[in-house]
Symmetry: C2
DNA sequence: ATATCGAATGTTATAGCATAACACGTCAAG
DNA sequence: CTTGACGTGTTATGCTATAACATTCGATAT
């Protein structure tokens, strides 16, 4: 799905369902790769899935602390860094925030759509954008190893509300 | 040039020349638009042009203070914000840093290529990437108002050096 | 000329984001 | 049963950014 639009991104959907799906896949992936999805890490991913939007590290930390985990910044940052490495969470540079990946395990250099009204973050079809970027860079002899592609704008719902 | 590769981006060039060009255009633009390119602002732009790479706000501040301007953060941030508004400077979200625009006055939502070795920042052909992004967003009904497109990788020189 | 207003600058203080460095506990391999 | 790797917790600190207020400067209208 990394290169196909996710029809549910902005549509109404059973969120518990989609979170459950993602958690299940995350656990499967971790078992496969030998990565240890420990309690803090697992809970961190759940927090991001429940929020269904990008959260700052300190927001995550607050929730972790409420659940009995440590309440110092490294607790959150370490869990988040781990999840980012595993491809289970993405960092949104523009927001200095983190969001759960909605389709882990499928290779993708993601494209994010951030609504300036409701702050929802969706992942969009990345492949064509990435191709264009590779081409543009290639013309200058630059080799792209990783990319940050983020769009700020209005999601369908907020656009409708504004009209 | 916003949609054409800048042949000079990674090539050897007379940097004093290209900086002078940019400064001249910046001043022309400011006169046109009525924006006031005051001493701090002007010096800030010069600092970024001289560095020829992305600088953090505090790096800029340090240099400004050395030149007799105020040495508190807002001094640098205000000048930088002004220059960003005028399209004379770009913010690189991934680096929390700022770089002078190499072709001001030409409408563009820029694409940045950041070398992970030498930290040079170049602007690449933006139009095709932006089109792909608009298309991907459009499929989800999302309207793009602004974009952050940044690639991390190796510039030609560092790639050659590494080989 | 000078009063007035707005924009730019300077300064103090504080908020928000992120990491270095060390201590402790656990668990598996030798 | 010791050793070493890893995960977690904690202290302390550094970097990034902005809010709020004081002061200065220059353009404009009187």
């Amino acid at each position: 799905m990394s290169s196909a639009p996710d029809a549910r991104a902005f549509a109404h959907h059973d969120h518990a369902d989609c979170s459950g799906d993602v958690m299940a896949r995350a656990e499967a992936l971790s078992r496969q790769s030998g990565a240890r999805l420990t309690p803090v890490r697992r809970r961190t991913l759940e927090i991001l899935l429940e929020a269904h939007r990008a959260l700052g590290a300190y927001d995550v930390l607050e929730r972790l602390a409420a659940d009995g985990f440590g309440n110092q910044p490294p607790v959150a940052y370490r869990a988040l860094d781990f999840l980012v490495e595993q491809g289970l969470v993405h960092r949104i540079a523009r927001l200095n925030a983190f969001a759960a990946c909605m389709h882990p395990g499928e290779a993708h250099s993601p494209v994010f759509l951030i609504c300036r009204e409701c702050n929802i973050v969706a992942e969009a079809a990345a492949a064509p954008v990435r191709s264009a970027l590779d081409a543009a860079a290639g013309e200058l002899g630059f080799v792209v190893e990783g990319s940050t592609i983020e769009a700020l704008g209005l999601c369908p719902a907020c656009r409708a509300a504004a009209a």
